[in-house]
Amino acid sequence: MAIAHEFEYFKPESIEGVIELLLKYKGKARLLAGGTDLVVRIKDGLEFPEAVIDIKGLTELGKLEFKNNRLFIGSLVTFNDLIDSKVVEEKFSLLWESSKTIASMGIRNRATIVGNICSAVPSLDSGPALLVYEANVVVKGSEGERVIPILDWFLGPRKTALNADEFVYGITISLPEKKNGGSYVKLGRYNGEDLAQVGLGILALEGNEYRLAFCAVGPLPGRAKKIEALLNGKSLTDSLIEEAKNLVPEEISPITDVRATKEYRLHVAKIMFERGIKAAVERLNGKGPAYGKKLI
């Protein structure tokens, strides 16, 4: 209902304006794009910023562009913008499929993928895709611009590599050089929207290269390096898949909470891996279920 906590509101019109405010408020300011995470947290008394900096005045941040084999996603690009983009659907299908599993129309019209990685919640649906695409986070601050690889971005639950005087300008994803197929498999409690109880993003690249990343089963989303090491260079067989399945418990550390038990998450994670990797390879070969079709 109402928000009792009081704060200043700014809507700067330039990058410099944003940085100036960040410096002024020394970590006590919060950036506002879609607000679907920040506003809930302010209402719940989990965030009490002295200032809210609305970046929706910087139209350049709304850019979603594919140029020179690189996708640039500005920090105002919403999940529905990604879903509506033909380029994302066709060339970055794993990101497209992940975006479709998120929340609802009304949330996706506002929530941004940059906001999602800045929230750094362990269950973030955009995490696995960005990790396997090996995206880069373009950050601007008082010292200028820097690029943080997504593999170095997540430091802990709700903790990122961003400094207090910095903000995310956008995300870049290089188009994988090799032909590829992917799948994002998400465990929810039913068909309606849900936070992932297990999330798994897989990219299968031509020449038997595999990249996998989990979310919601550890304090950070992360790549499944052991499974990748086992699979890389080999073509997929049933026994290889079985062997890889047995490595799943070594890659993840799920907990028991109101949403699911640790045991169920472990059990389904193996099934998600099996179905997901098969679908990724089928899609690599131009077959398999259409992107967006749920595998579990």
Binding site: V258, E263, Y264, V268, I271, I296
Partner: protein, 791 residues
């Protein structure tokens, strides 16, 4: 079946246009002016504690605060069937979230800020959460003064214990019945708490005007009962019923949660503390979960004996109900379902014990099904297992033992006319019962489940319903009643009944929402009895008007009243075919006679209905000898599901439900009740999953983690079937069906899971996780119960 013009037709809902244009007003849509005050409630963090002190001094100093109230300001007890609760906690709190104090401020932000400044010191005392544990000698006693609480004569609280009420039914001789049986089977089932999740949260605005009149606007199913409870709770302030007014506009869902009184009494009480200012109490979504009524938890122990040919010889059930710390309404859930705990079966020897037990989980009470949704999971799961054990088909078992008209129910009264066998046959046919289906996908299993069900309105024996009808100058009508439109289509049904008798089409009829100053009495909109009870009242009012019309016409034209009839909004005569008098020409202005004078004048009608055959005088030891229930509505339902054997996920391929509505006043709206009620029931079976921590605090009071169905969760196909075996005392033969669609949903899922996988899950909810882990671990029976999470 007689063919009617309006009754039995899918007439357009009267309220649909208001609802799709944003014109429909709910309580929070009413503008109460610049003096509206806002509240914030200070709530207990403990499940059971003594209140040592409340310090409001710092809070009172803040500008914008009008008043801060605590239990000291309102030491008044109230309760519908038993007076066991206070408006604000007095010397102790009994559940996490119970209201201890309230801040009233000029704006909501101040109220929020100031609430944090109120300091309460508690001394926690031992709490009890398990209903069976609460019966032990050394269990903490939730109400030490239970023995002194006033209550209705058909409740039996045991002072000094946590037993708020115990319904006993004894019919025949169960020991003899079990001896006669060829097969006896006993088991235990566990059903957790659930939440109504009405889209509109509870809200009430109270105003004590400067003349001393108290008005409460409430999202309520029971405006008259609320008025009565307010008068009772605030009796020390000297209110007469005529000086309390309850207004209930459209209600955004009730499902039983807005019956009786829960938080509305806070608004009524606070209004008396800030005379001249309307004060709003509106629940946030999390408060809606933990401080209204939850659906009660129940542990059911059932033992049934059958002969080899399937005849049931004996039925014994003990239901332990966790009703929370305030059972003033919930005790009737225990009682009502206790009387009917056999399900719709013909059984000669019956023993039922239904205990209403105090615990320190949040207050619990009425929810769609009123105990039947809860306990039918046990009964219909058990019956299917018995049929399987003796090698008899599940549906055949129901056909053989299904109760017929005239059979005696558990408490001895005769069963009313009903279409149970017809419902069973139609459902079995529609679901293709007997045909085993397999999935094309080897990783999936298909199963079918079946159940029969019943419910009678659970009411005191003397509930009344009344109606006024008046004409307008153009022949349109206003029907003035105090039933509530909570979504079920009540307004439309009443209009159809009046339309049929007075031949005024429903488009020319308005049905007015309750205002206890103006609309005449109706007990509560609960119990699926309103189409029947208020429909009868509306019908009587319409007939009274029709009689009056014929009387006036007779007086002026001298035609025999028996030859007069209404058609197309005109009075006509069977003998004099050319005679035709438009209603609108005289229903306000009267009929002019030959000498220029007038007869008749404005025509109005009233109707009142109360059943005169119900009584609550049964023997407390056996429940025999009274007639507590007016009639039963029966039905049958089946479901076909497909289970992913690895993930445990259930897909509902087809759901079928047949209800005996007596006479479907509006068949389209009844089918819509079936779509909504079945889905609500399937949700309790599959994914609604309320969890508490070890301190009795609810862990998921929000839609993020308490999952209710979305449009993606509906069955692939739902087939609603209406059976019509008339209810002799119902308007046009109608009886109620509002709660019923939900009742069979959980057992048909449990039965279908067993059919598909050979696994019997005896505890709700039957989540994908439970199914997957049972398959993984090779378990044939599951009774895992996770409602209270251990660390």
């Amino acid at each position: 079946m007689e063919e009617y013009k309006y009754v039995g037709k899918p007439v357009d809902r009267l309220d649909e246009k208001e609802k799709v244009t944003g014109a429909a007003k709910y309580v929070d849509d009413i503008d109460f002016g610049p003096n509206l005050l806002y509240t914030e409630i200070i709530e207990s963090p403990h499940p059971h504690a003594l209140i040592k002190s409340i310090d409001t001094s710092e809070a009172e100093k803040v500008e914008g605060v009008v008043k801060i109230v605590t239990g000291k300001d309102f030491p008044y007890k109230f309760g519908l069937y038993m007076k066991d609760r206070y408006i604000f906690a007095q010397d102790r709190v009994r559940f996490v979230g119970e209201q201890v104090a309230a801040v009233i401020a000029r704006d909501p932000k101040t109220a929020l800020k100031v609430a944090k400044l109120v300091k309460v010191v508690y001394e926690p005392i031992p709490a009890v959460f398990d209903p069976i544990g609460a019966l032990k000698e050394d269990a903490p006693v939730v109400h030490p003064d239970l023995g002194n609480y006033p209550h209705v004569p058909w409740f039996f609280p045991k002072g000094g214990t946590n037993v708020a009420h115990h319904t006993k039914v004894r019919k025949g001789n169960v020991e003899k019945g079990f001896k006669e049986a060829d097969f006896v089977f006993e088991d235990t089932y566990r059903i957790p708490r659930y939440a109504h999740c009405c889209m509109e949260t509870h809200i009430a605005v109270g105003l004590l005007d400067y003349s001393g009149r108290l008005t409460v606007w409430a999202s309520s199913q029971s405006p008259y009962t609320q008025r009565n409870l307010f008068a009772d709770a605030l009796a020390p302030l000297g209110f007469s019923h005529k000086d309390i007014r309850v207004i209930a506009p459209y209600v955004g869902g009730g499902f039983g949660g807005k019956a009786g009184v829960t938080m509305e009494v806070i608004a009524a009480a606070l209004a008396t503390a800030v005379k001249g200012n309307p004060v709003k109490v509106m629940w946030r979504r999390d408060q809606e979960f933990y401080n209204t009524y939850m659906r009660q938890q129940v542990i059911s122990k059932i033992k049934v004996g059958v002969k080899n040919d399937g005849t049931i010889t004996a039925f014994e059930i003990t239901n332990y109900w966790d009703a929370g710390p305030y059972v003033e309404y919930g005790a009737n859930v225990v009682n009502a379902s206790g009387l009917s705990a056999t399900g719709p079966y013909r059984i000669p020897n019956v023993k039922i014990d239904s205990y209403c037990i105090y615990t320190n989980l949040p207050a619990a009470g009425p929810y769609r099904g009123f105990g039947y949704s809860e306990m039918l999971f046990s009964v219909e799961s058990h019956m299917t297992r018995i049929a399987k054990a003796i090698g008899m088909d599940s549906v055949e078992f129901r056909r053989k033992n299904g109760i017929k008209e005239g059979d005696s129910v558990a408490y001895g009264a005769p069963m009313n006319p009903n279409g149970l066998l017809e419902a069973i046959d139609k459902v079995a046919k529609e679901i293709d019962w007997g045909k085993k289906e397999t999935s094309n996908d080897s990783g999936k299993a298909i199963g079918k489940g079946f159940a029969i069900f019943w419910k009678a309105p659970a009411m005191p024996p003397n509930v009344s319903s009344t109606a006024f009808i008046k004409f307008n100058e153009d022949g349109s009508l206003n029907i003035i009643v105090s039933g509530m439109e909570i979504g079920q289509g009540y307004l439309t049904a009443m209009a159809q009944i009046a339309a049929e008798i007075l031949t005024v089409p429903p488009e020319k009829i308005r049905v007015e929402l309750p205002d206890t100053d103006r609309n005449p009495y109706h007990w509560q909109t609960v119990a699926s009895h309103v189409t029947w009870a208020n429909g009868n009242a509306v019908k009587r009012a319409a007939l009274q008007i029709r009689d009056r019309i014929f009387e006036v016409v007779h007086e002026v034209y001298h035609y025999d009243k028996d030859t007069l009839y209404l058609e197309d909004e005109k009075v006509k005569c069977r003998l004099h075919h050319s005679f035709e008098l438009l209603l609108k020409d005289f229903v306000i202005g009267g009929i002019q006679t030959e000498n220029g004078t007038y007869r008749g004048g404005a025509i109005v009608g009233s109707g009142s209905f109360m059943p005169e055959f119900t009584s609550a005088v049964q023997d407390p030891e056996t429940a025999q000898g009274g007639h507590p229930n007016v009639h039963y509505t029966v039905g049958a339902a089946a479901v076909k599901i497909e289970i992913d054997k690895q993930t445990g996920k259930v897909r509902i391929l087809k759901a079928v439900e047949a209800l005996d509505a007596g006479k479907a006043i509006n068949p389209m709206n009844i089918k819509h009740q079936i779509y909504g009620g079945l889905l609500q029931g399937f949700a309790t079976a599959l994914y609604e999953d309320m969890r508490f921590d070890e301190n009795g605090k609810i862990l998921n009071p929000n839609f993020t983690d308490y999952k209710i169905p979305t449009s993606l969760d509906i069955p692939d196909e739902v087939v609603p079937i209406i059976v019509e075996v008339p209810q002799p005392d119902g308007p046009f033969g109608a009886r109620g069906i509002g709660e019923h669609p939900m009742i069979p949903a959980a057992p048909i899922i449990a039965n279908a899971v067993e059919d598909a996988l050979g696994i019997r899950i005896k505890s709700m909810p039957i989540t994908a996780e439970k199914i997957a882990m049972a398959i993984l671990n090779g378990k044939k029976e599951v009774d895992e119960f996770l409602m209270i999470m251990k660390k």
